[in-house]
């Protein structure tokens, strides 16, 4: 594959005129995140979404019929409701709000926000419900063509003999369903393998990864204990008995133990790898919801928003180099669009696919060489202050339902920005398909 460089590309458009209608982020909440196939087993992404969205409406004292648009992120479409976004509107009894399901891999949550924001900025909408959900546990398990074709014949066959004949063609080995895999279509490697490559290229050691994982678990544990994270959560009562209620993210290792992190075996490359279950984000079920509004309407209703959307950027990068390096490209672009510097940020929340991806992106953002060769800038993007970075932990600890993560990050980052009374916050993700996204928010 040809080695493309930033220099050859047309420059990305940096600045736009500030939009007429500023987009206010009113509030958000989410279900606790749990390990796939555990507590939420059997709950559809629609049910999870509805739980988060219905509770959000009540918490912000708003009638569920008062938003006029829905954008919902999800990465594993469910055959029975392919347009999850519209189903969320209908499930809340809001038949008037059109709904759209958006998919930008792990940035789907962010995409739902900016899709809604675009309608508001154009003046086509005054208030949108945005968010996302994924339930790995609910994902359809596909059979291979080898099984499906004879079954089709079985359905069409009219006589008993023909039916039996068709059934006989079903290969026994084919009855083992194909497990959902997170293989990149373009490269043929799994996410984990891409992570392993990045560790080697960027020289990120197992120890550094485990140290970062320890930090994110510790922070998430503290934020759970002191109530900062639980305040964002909707208790989920588990059907059909509704006796057990989930009020915390269940995968956070409180008081993490460095030694036990060290003892974990690598999962993607058992021989030479460094990525473990401890320093990677786990397969997760969950949903998050957020309400956004035009500044005008928010003021008219006397609402105090968490903040306003300032600027954002989505980028695509070379999938054959370092797949998860997107934020290193989208961040400088979004900062330019906002006419701000990395230093201006009080809160930075970067999605943690793997500890190695976080450390690689930090390395690149701080690298002069990267800036010059890849970004066509003289200076590095900026130095990351760990006191402002993933303050309440990130996806490695909290979990990562693909479609909901972006929304979770916005909720957490903006709540923290308000606690700190800072001015700017940034949320970014790397995403499958070699993409990056960065959203910048401001208060007042």
């Amino acid at each position: 594959m040809a080695k493309t460089t930033a220099q050859k590309k047309a420059p990305r458009k940096k600045a736009a005129k500030p939009p007429k209608n500023r987009v206010a982020i009113i509030a958000g909440c989410r279900t606790p995140f749990v390990r796939a196939f555990k507590e939420y087993n059997g709950l559809s992404p629609l049910e999870l979404s509805r739980l988060a969205a219905a509770e959000l409406m009540r918490r912000i004292e708003m009638d569920p019929k008062d938003f006029d648009n829905v954008f919902w992120g999800t990465t594993i479409p469910i055959m029975r409701f392919p347009n999850l976004g519209r189903e969320v509107a209908i499930a809340l009894g809001n038949y008037d709000a059109p709904g759209q399901t958006v998919m930008r891999a792990c940035s789907s949550g962010s995409q739902s926000l900016t899709s809604g924001a675009e309608h508001i900025m154009m003046g086509y909408s005054s208030c949108a419900l945005v968010g996302g959900a994924d339930s790995i546990s609910f994902a359809p398990v596909p059979y291979s063509k080898k099984v499906i074709d004879p079954l089709q014949d079985f359905g069409r066959a009219k006589s008993m003999g023909k039916k039996l004949e068709a059934l006989r063609k079903v290969p026994l080995s084919g009855l083992i369903p194909t497990p959902p895999s997170l293989t990149e279509f373009s490269t043929g490697y799994t996410m984990g393998q891409h992570g392993e490559m990045m560790a080697k290229i960027n020289g990120i050691t197992r120890e550094a990864q485990d140290d970062y994982a320890w930090l994110t678990h510790k922070r998430a544990g503290e934020a759970t204990d002191d109530g900062r994270l639980p305040a964002e959560l909707v208790p989920v009562y588990l059907p059909p008995k509704f006796e057990k209620v989930i009020t915390f993210d269940t995968m956070i290792r409180k008081n993490p133990d460095r030694d036990s992190l060290k003892r974990l075996k690598p999962v993607f490359d058992r021989k030479y790898g460094t990525l473990t279950a401890g320093n990677s984000s786990p397969l997760t079920d969950g949903a998050a919801a957020l309400l956004i509004m035009s500044e005008e309407r928010a003021k008219a209703e006397g609402r105090v928003p968490l903040g306003y959307l300032k600027a954002y950027a989505y980028v695509g990068i070379d999938p054959f180099e370092q797949l998860l390096l997107g934020p290193s490209y989208s961040t400088p672009l979004a900062l330019d669009r906002a006419h701000l510097k990395l230093d201006d940020m009080e809160v930075i929340d970067m999605h943690e696919a793997f500890a190695v991806q976080i450390l690689s992106n930090i390395q690149k953002l701080e690298s002069e060489e990267f800036a010059q060769t890849k970004l066509n800038r003289k200076e590095p993007v900026g130095k990351i202050d760990m006191e402002k970075f993933n303050i309440l932990g990130g996806s490695v600890a909290v979990g990562h339902p693909f479609g909901a993560t972006g929304t979770r990050q916005v909720i957490t980052a903006l709540n923290e920005l308000n606690r700190r009374k800072g001015q700017y916050a940034m949320v970014s993700q790397c995403a499958g398909g070699a993409m990056g996204s960065t959203l910048i928010f401001e208060r007042e």
Partner: protein, 734 residues
């Protein structure tokens, strides 16, 4: 007959299609629903004769012109206007003639059903040669005559068992239940189920095919033994063979009738004559043929329609009909408020039940309960009720999702700011209620209505904690809310008409019989329950066994006896209400001293599986250890009549006092409240109807006798004494 007006516009229109199919549309002018009455049947018969003479026609589609109903039954007003059994027989003759003609029609007649086809409506459809119904939610088929103490007399007892089989027909006619389209198709009650938009097309097609002899309806109950034995599906449903064995011969049918008689006797306690008549009529028809069956049907109907039981059951029907339009002096310009969100305080049995019914009717609710465990239980309550629809396949999963999703809950008051109405269902304790009233008013908007679901504390006393007494009202639901049909709304002198109108409308939307009463301790229902429950306790103290008391009450027509009722309501609840009533009404309501011992023994009733009855065993049996709490009791035989008098008269006397005290706006409300809230025997028509039947002077005499024997608690109400002197009745007599 007064109803028979010759100048009435014909409700039937005939449209002849080019394909030779005649569409006969029934659309009763100036009415929202189609009903059958004498002149309509004459008219229909004439129309049919005309059609038969038209040789250009191939067949007929019979359809309703109403947007959402086929025919809802016979005109009950007409049934109530007969002065003799002979008049009733004449009407039935007319119906039989018309439907026999219809059935004998040479050209095929297809009934196209959308919306309810009930009673006479279904009987018309049964006389047609083919039935198609829409799969719409509103479409249902049934023969509810038994609920009015009658039987289907337009051939229903004869044609139904022949169409769907004996057991299925008995089930439908004896219970009066409604059948949904899908089920109707399965049992052969209809031949096709289609989308409502296809109804007419499907009916036309069926007529043409039937006329051409290309369509032979396949009805499960009409299959021959050979057909059944060779049917592939029989293999999976062996019950079909058993049914066939039972129903195809007199011996087997005898077994079925025998079983059914036993069931009927158990259910009606021999008090309601209709079910037994139904069995008899069907049996005659099956053993001796259609002609004798129809004659038996006519005779049975004439007897039943003139019976006291049917008269009172029809009175209840009329009362509930007039109740739907009642305004309780609220003028037309007062409009009910729109309710976008309803807050519920307390997620217990009551709160959960209210939220469940609200959800099923499309209202949003927000439960507040400090205990998350209770919230989980409330969700489960709603889930168990709402998910039934998905399990039984008459509700889409998405509809379930929407409904269960309309309930949210919290341990604090978030979400209450937007509430338009808050219903309080916390524990029956005035201080606690005052506390939550104040807390709620601090968060809700100033227009928010506050409704208390107290069962005994006067609303005026509760409203003292409120800054906005005009928005304050009582909504007394009965448990379990999704099953109990009554809602008693209690207004104070300060309650605004808008508040009342809003709650009345909500109650009706929740599917309840709504009565409005004035405030007072125990309002109406709890107050009349008091003396009745106390009398049961006195009977127990007099040495009457618990199950004997209950049985005596059931033989009066109460659905459960007073001892069981105490277990259901909760002995602790009744015990807590006692002193409140005592304070308000004096000696008459003095608590039965021994009741305290039950509370000390932690006997609260079914809720903690410890009451008068033992709920640990599989079958509910009286808990003999109760007697150990009362060593002074000497168990003895006691005349049943005496037990019944003591229970019934204490009940009726208190009802009269409620009317005297102007708690009730009308005796109709009193009858409805007693029947639907407390299970007062429906065959009596309610306590006031019953006193009219017994004659007030006799009631007074009986009460005076009881007073002499048992003391002050049977002192007749002043109003009864006055009425007996004037010879007055509660209702105008016919």
């Amino acid at each position: 007959m007064a109803k028979e007006k010759k100048d009435k516009k014909t409700p039937f229109t005939l449209e002849k299609g080019k394909d030779g199919v005649a569409i006969l549309t029934f659309d009763l002018p100036d009415e929202s629903v189609n009903k059958l009455s004498s002149w309509i049947m004459t008219d229909l018969q004439d129309k049919m004769k005309l059609i038969q003479e038209d040789s250009s026609l191939k067949g007929i589609v019979f359809i309703s012109g109403k947007p959402d109903n086929f025919i809802v039954g016979a005109d009950i007003d007409e049934l109530s206007s007969f002065s003799s059994a002979k008049e009733a027989e004449e009407l039935i003759d007319k119906a039989h003639n018309m439907l026999n003609d219809l059935e004998a029609s040479k050209m095929p007649v297809v009934a196209a059903i959308h919306g309810p086809a009930l009673g006479g409506g279904l009987e018309v459809a049964l006389a047609c040669h083919y039935r198609i119904c829409s799969r719409h939610k509103k479409t249902s088929l049934g023969l509810p005559e038994v609920q009015l103490g009658l039987l289907p007399a337009a051939g229903g007892t004869q044609r139904l068992p022949r169409l769907i089989g004996l057991q299925a027909a008995l089930d439908m006619i004896l219970t009066g239940k409604n059948i949904r389209p899908k089920q109707a198709l399965k049992m052969g009650l209809v031949d096709e189920v289609v989308f409502e938009l296809d109804l007419l097309t499907a009916a036309r097609t069926a007529v043409l095919k039937l006329a051409a002899g290309k369509l032979k309806p396949q009805r499960p109950a009409q299959k021959s033994a050979y057909q059944l034995a060779t049917d592939f599906n029989t293999f999976f449903k062996p019950k079909k063979l058993i049914d066939f064995a039972l129903e195809s011969n007199p011996l087997g049918r005898h077994v079925v009738f025998d079983q059914a008689s036993k069931m009927v006797l158990k259910k009606t306690a021999g008090l309601y004559p209709a079910p037994a008549k139904i069995l008899e009529t069907i049996k005659i028809g099956l053993e001796n043929g259609m002609k004798e069956g129809l004659a038996a049907e006519k005779k049975a109907f004439a007897e039943l329609v003139m019976s006291d039981v049917s008269y009172q059951l029809r009175n209840i029907f009329f009362a509930t009909t007039s109740l739907k339009k009642e305004t309780w002096n609220i003028t037309d310009n007062v409009k009910p408020k729109k309710l976008n969100l309803i807050g519920i305080l307390g997620g217990g049995f009551m709160g959960a039940g209210i939220a469940t019914v609200l959800a099923s009717k499309g209202y949003y609710s927000r439960i507040r309960d400090i205990d998350p465990v209770q919230i989980g239980k409330a969700y489960r309550y709603a889930h168990d009720f709402l998910y039934k629809g998905v399990k039984r396949k008459y509700m889409q999963k998405s509809e379930y999702e929407r409904k269960i999703g309309s309930i949210t809950a919290s341990t604090d008051y978030t979400g209450f700011k937007k509430a338009d109405l808050v219903i309080e269902a916390v524990f029956e304790d005035i201080d606690l209620k005052h506390k939550v009233i104040k807390e709620t008013e601090a968060v809700v908007s100033k227009n928010c209505i506050f409704a208390s679901n107290t069962s005994s504390i006067p609303i005026t006393d509760l409203a003292k904690a409120s800054k906005r007494p005009e928005n304050f009202i009582g909504m007394h639901f009965f448990s379990p809310v999704e099953k109990m049909p009554l809602l008693e709304i209690i207004i104070t002198k300060k309650t605004s008409p808008e508040t009342t109108a809003t709650c009345v409308e909500l109650g009706r939307a929740m599917g309840k019989q709504v009565i409005v009463v004035n405030d007072g301790t125990g309002f109406y229902t709890s107050r009349i329950l008091g003396p009745y429950a106390r009398e049961a306790a006195f009977l127990l103290m007099d040495g009457v066994r618990m199950e004997v008391i209950d049985k005596a009450a059931k033989q009066l027509g109460f659905p459960v006896g007073p001892i069981t009722l105490l277990d259901e309501v909760g002995i602790d609840v009744v015990y807590k209400v006692g002193p409140v009533m005592h304070k308000a009404f004096g000696e008459r309501f003095a608590p039965v001293p021994a009741m305290e011992r039950l509370i000390n023994d932690k006997r609260y009733g079914r809720k903690n599986k410890r009451g008068f009855y033992n709920y640990q065993a599989k079958k509910k049996v009286p808990d003999e250890s109760v007697y150990k709490l009362f060593p002074e009791i000497k168990l003895r035989e006691y005349p049943k009549q005496k037990i019944q008098d003591r229970l019934l008269y204490s009940f009726m006397n208190e009802a009269a006092m409620c009317f005297e005290d102007k708690i009730l706006f009308s005796v109709r409300d009193g009858d409805i409240g007693a029947i639907f809230g407390l299970g007062f025997p429906p065959l009596t028509g309610g306590p006031f109807r019953h006193m009219d039947t017994l004659k007030v002077e006799n009631v007074v005499k009986k009460l005076e006798g009881l007073e002499k024997e048992f003391g002050l608690r049977f002192k007749p109400a002043q109003i009864l004494i006055e009425m007996s002197q004037k010879g007055d009745t509660f209702y105008p007599q016919k």
